[in-house]
Structures are given as C-alpha cells and as structure tokens.
C-alpha cells in the first residue's frame, strides 16, 4: 500500500511540476492522462495477496496499485509511465497499458474490457488442468458495460474459476453510482449469473483479504464465479487535474485514507509501534525514490521502434512511412 501510494505521490508531483503555469496534458516527463490509485490501495493489496502465481489478473485504466501489489518491478512501471525504453513495454503501452507476462498481468484502458480475457484465462487454466483463477478488476461504473453482463453470464454457464473484483469508489468520472446504477450493491447482481456475491465496506486490506480468500475457495472448488465488491475512495479524482467539484463537500469530508487507517489499526493492535511504522514508511519511500531517479535517468526509446511489434514475425506489406 505504501509503495503504491508513494509511487503515485511522486508521479503526481512530477506530473504537476511540468504542467504549470499552463496545464498542457502533453507536456513534461509524464504526459497523457494519469488515473492515480490514491485511496484504493487496500483493494489491491487485500485481493492480490490471496492469489498465487498460477492466477491471472486483468486490471483497469487505474492499474498502479494492482500492478505494485502483484509484484511488478516499480522501476519498470515508472519507466513505462514516463515512456522510457526500459519500461514494461518499452514505452509502447503507457500508464493504462501495463503488461508483465511473467506476472500473468495486463491492464487496459477500455472500461470492462478485462472481463472477457480474465474469464478466458480461467477457461484456459481449466482446460490445461491448472489450478489458476482469472481475476478481473473493475470500477463500479464498469458494471454497466455490456461486456460485464455477457462475461458474467458465460462464467456462470461454464462455472469458470473466475472472480470479478469491483472497486466501488462511487464515481464513474463525474457520475455518481446512485445516478448510474439501478442497484445499491453490484454484488447483488451475482444472483443473475448464478454467482456468489460478496461485499466489503471497510476498505481494510485484512477484511478484503479474508473476503477474497473466501471467493477463491468458492470458485476454485468448481462452484462458479464470484463478484466481490469493495467500498473504497477515489482521493485524487478521475484523473490528475480533476478538481472533483461535482463531489459533494460532505462526501469529500468523509473520504477515508486506507494507508492512514491501516497504520492506525496496526498501532492500536500493537502490531507496530509508531517508530517502527515510520521506519517502514521511510524504507519504502527510499526504494520508490530510487526507482523514480532510475526512471528519470533512463533513455527514451528509439523512435523507429514504433514501426515494429504488430506481429510475432515482422511482416512486409505494411504501408510505407
């Protein structure tokens, strides 16, 4: 949680640094949209910590916390976000398209697009006699996409080892869940797909871990798919630069920060002292800062690399440049 948070803090700092006094989305070390994970880290840590290396993840357009929780190298994530040659995809993907084949991890910028692939990965695991599960992460607003319903239904029909994790931050860009979604809890929709529906409203990684473990036991046993919805908070808006003026003040005042809450809990339970927590936090920050420096110092890719990569065997017949 802390690594993802500090990575996002540094990204935010660098992002805004290069975009003042005039905000130009294309300017600076980190251009383009950035959907930071501030506030949602507990969802990733709680769920991904229950997975094994056999399991597959498809993440969202807001993928940083999920990627860090899965153990992707922070240096490579940051290089990719800065469009550097030694990024995960050599700069071809960018912040919404983080891939690591060795971690069975991909993310995508189209809402609910990870549903089909994660279910297909689950199907492949079953066909191969492999215990792996497909896990698709979604925001709560993505549940209104056709792909969600099509794939949940298929996962129910085929009884796939599949978990759909819905991170409910209450906002689909500027539209509140209550204005876009006919049910209060998307986990209730599980009934429509003969799936198990679970809901966790604490944004606490231990509670989430327990629920995810239950989900995995259920789906690995052949009982069918699971929708696990997690109440969480989007602390930095849809994308960096979003002032969130559409969020009511009283809701903003009630936003919770899982990193602070969890630290307080661990201290209250006597698991960590305040100084141990400080020390841990400092160590994580130093590691992330080192990765940031590495990424800043890394070279940009050769522009010619843009012209290859459509196919496994590069082919002739492409249009001329």
């Amino acid at each position: 949680m802390l690594a993802s948070r500090h990575m996002d803090d540094r990204i935010m700092e660098l992002y805004y640094r290069d975009k003042t006094p005039v905000f130009d989305i294309a300017a600076g070390l980190i251009p383009g949209e950035i959907h930071s994970s501030h506030g949602q880290e507990a969802c990733a840590v709680g769920t991904v910590s229950a997975l094994t290396g056999d399991d597959w993840i498809t993440a969202t357009h807001r993928p940083h916390h999920t990627a860090v929780a899965r153990g992707l190298e922070i240096k490579q994530i940051l290089c990719e976000i800065m469009g550097k040659a030694n990024g995960l995809s050599g700069g071809k993907g960018g912040h919404m398209h983080l891939y690591s084949a060795k971690h069975n991890f991909s993310s995508s910028g189209i809402i609910a697009e990870g549903m089909g692939p994660a279910a297909g990965m689950a199907l492949a695991c079953r066909m191969q006699g492999n215990p792996g599960v497909g896990v698709c992460f979604l925001g709560e607003a993505a549940v209104n996409q056709g792909a969600f319903h099509e794939v949940m239904n298929m996962a129910g029909v085929y009884k796939l080892p599949f978990v759909c994790v819905v991170e409910d931050n209450n906002w689909g860009v500027s539209v509140a869940k209550s204005a876009s979604t006919a049910v209060a809890r998307n986990s209730d929709r599980a009934a429509a797909y003969n799936a198990l529906g679970l809901y966790v409203d604490t944004n606490d990684p231990e509670d989430i871990h327990a629920a995810m473990s239950k989900a995995l036991r259920h789906t690995r046993s052949g009982s069918g798919p699971v929708i696990l919805e997690l109440k969480t908070y989007r602390l930095q808006g849809h994308m960096l630069g979003d002032p969130q003026h559409y969020v009511p003040d009283e809701e903003k005042a009630a936003f919770r920060d899982c990193t602070l809450d969890y630290r307080a809990k661990l201290e209250a339970e006597g698991v960590l002292t305040a100084s141990e927590a400080d020390e841990l936090q400092a160590r994580v920050k130093a590691e992330v800062d080192e990765a940031v420096e590495f990424a800043i110092a890394s070279p940009l890719p050769d522009a010619e690399n843009a012209l290859s990569g459509n196919f496994v065997d590069e082919i002739t017949g492409r249009a001329n440049i």
Partner: protein, 338 residues
C-alpha cells in the same frame, strides 16, 4: 501415399481445423451454434461429435464476451478458433476485436501473444438484406494488429486455415458464404472447388496469386470477386481482350509488389471488391501502385465495388450494386477504349 479429393471451401477449411485439433490439444473452437449445428456455414460440421462439448464450445449470443474470452484463453496458452457467423456482427464486438485482440501484442511490446483465429462469413448476393450481406473486410484490414485472410478457393481455404491456426498472431479468416459450398447456397461455383491433398499444408501470408495470366489489363480481385473477374476475363477473351487476374489472398499483409509487377506488364488496373468503395480495398490497391510507381499506369485505374450504399434486399437492386462480371467487363472495356 498422397491422396486427394475435390472439396468445397467449407469442407477444406474444416479438414484443416480437424487435423489441427487432433494434433494439438491447445486448439479448440468456440462460438454460436458450433457444437450441435456445426456452425451456421458448415465450418464445424461434425466436429462437436468428434471432439465433445469441451473443445467445440457453444456460446451465448454474446460476441463481445466470447471474443474477449477467446483472447484471454489465447494469452494463457490456448489456440482458440472463434466462429462468428456473419461478418456484419463485428458491429457488436468491434472493441473486442480491434482494441483487445489486435492490440495486446503491440502494446505489450511482444510479451503477450494472441494466437487466435476469428472466422467470419462474408458477402451477399442471396437477398439476405443489409445486415447479413456485407463484406466488411476493410473495417478489419484497416486496423493494425491482425492478419486478414480471404481465400477464394478450397485449396487456399485449407492451406491458410492450417497457417492461421499455427500462427502465433491474431488472424482473421474470412470465408465467403456464396463460395463455401454449403448446401443452402445452391450449387457451388466450380472454380471454388479444388483438388485437395489429404495431408496438411500451409500457405504463406502476403503472397498474391496470378489466377489468370494476361497482357492487356490487370484485374485485382479478392474472395468472391475473383470468380467474377475470372468470368469477365473469359467473356472478354472472346473479344480479343486478354486480362490478367490477381488474387492477393491476404489483405494483411498485402502483396503490393506482385500487383505492381502485373500492372507494369499490362499498364491498366481495375480493382473489383464487394466491400463499400470509399476508403476500402480498391483505394488501397490503387494508392499502393500509384505510390510505388505511377509511371506503370497508362490509364486512370478503375474501381468496381459497392457504390457506397446499404445493401438492398430486392433482387434487381442488390444485383445492380454487386461488383459482378458484367460490371467488371464494362470497366475493362472502358479503360481499354480510352
């Protein structure tokens, strides 16, 4: 010992699927109506019984869902063959095709492979109306990240199916309904049937075939229009006009060099295509020749395609807008009389 028989395109393609499924447990088929019905156009005929419901997987009518699912299965080490009966239906799953299956390899810088075949039934000419008669190959060939095959005869159908299934890339395999030889389309066009070796063989993507040699003009045609062009060539021969017919066979990659070579010989270019005319295959072929060497053209190239209208149901209207042999003949005469 090598044996061979004459097969229709659907039977030839199916034979390749069957062989690959027998050899490779990673290969499986999914789509609408494949298990018991054998695919709307016979592509999976009998395979359900042969391989069982786990490898010939019927899906709900959820194209976005099952193309996404197949993409994931491919990424995770399987080799799915997806049957999407009508190419017209890409409208409901275009995102899954172009933003998902076609982009993962590039965006992951080659980390993620999508060895998947998407089978589509294309074309009209049998009065099935504007949403079941289109030839939308340009909508796919325009988008990077997929190889696009559109065979015109049974020999090519089998060879490209083997190649598509064995390819580590995402391949779109377009069969033409009227060429398939499936019973309800009447008697197969004789030129679509070929002597097919029983053994498996592959054909290379991006190599055009000269299906008829000639010296007076070049007709480039694909899929169903290859047979219209061959018919036109035969009729024109009676008038002493000797045309060359080129079948690129794959739209991506496109064998631009072979097309140029033919036009360099004949000096005249006619492109026939069942897809909509503007921004399509005809434009791509003509632009490629013009870019590579405009000096080979002794006359302005001519396109024979759908004149950018929705396909009408009624027979005289539909026949009027199809790129038929008649329209191709007229185009050739027009070019050569100038």
């Amino acid at each position: 010992m090598t044996s061979s028989r004459t097969l229709t395109m659907a039977r030839a393609g199916r034979e390749a699927v069957m062989w690959e499924m027998e050899q490779d447990p990673r290969v499986f088929m999914l789509g609408e109506d494949v298990y018991k019905f054998g695919g709307v156009f016979g592509t999976a005929d009998g395979l359900g019984e042969m391989f069982g419901a786990d490898r010939i997987l019927d899906t709900p009518i959820s194209e976005t869902g099952f193309i996404g699912l197949a993409t994931g299965a491919a990424i995770a080490g399987m080799r799915p063959i997806v049957e999407l009966a009508f190419i017209d239906f890409i409208g409901v799953c275009y995102n899954a095709i172009v933003n998902l299956a076609a982009k993962h390899h590039y965006l992951s810088n080659g980390q993620v492979k999508v060895p998947m075949v998407l089978m589509l039934g294309s074309g009209g000419g049998y009065n099935n109306g504007g949403q079941h008669s289109q030839a939308l190959h340009a909508c796919l060939a325009h988008m990077p990240g997929m190889k696009v095959v559109a065979p015109s005869n049974a020999y090519d159908a089998k060879g490209f199916m083997h190649a598509a299934i064995r390819s580590d890339d995402f391949v779109v395999y377009i069969g033409h309904k009227k060429l398939s030889g499936v019973g309800f389309f009447g008697k197969p066009i004789p030129g679509t049937m070929s002597e097919i070796p029983s053994e498996p063989y592959t054909l290379p993507f991006g190599e055009a075939k000269v299906v008829r040699e000639g010296i007076d003009a070049t007709i480039v045609a694909i899929s169903w229009t290859v047979h219209q062009a061959l018919d036109a060539a035969e009729k024109l021969a009676h008038e002493g006009i000797d045309v060359e017919v080129i079948d690129p066979r794959t739209l991506v990659p496109l064998d631009r060099e072979s097309i140029l070579k033919s036009v360099a010989k004949t000096g005249h270019l006619i492109v026939a295509d069942e897809d909509y005319q503007s921004y399509g295959f005809t434009a791509e072929v003509i632009a490629s020749v013009a870019e590579l060497d405009p000096t080979v053209l002794k006359s302005a190239p001519v396109r024979v395609a759908n004149p950018d209208v929705t396909i009408p149901y009624s027979r005289p209207m539909e026949q009027h807008i199809l790129p038929t042999s008649q329209r191709i003949q007229e185009a050739v005469r027009r070019v050569l009389s100038k």
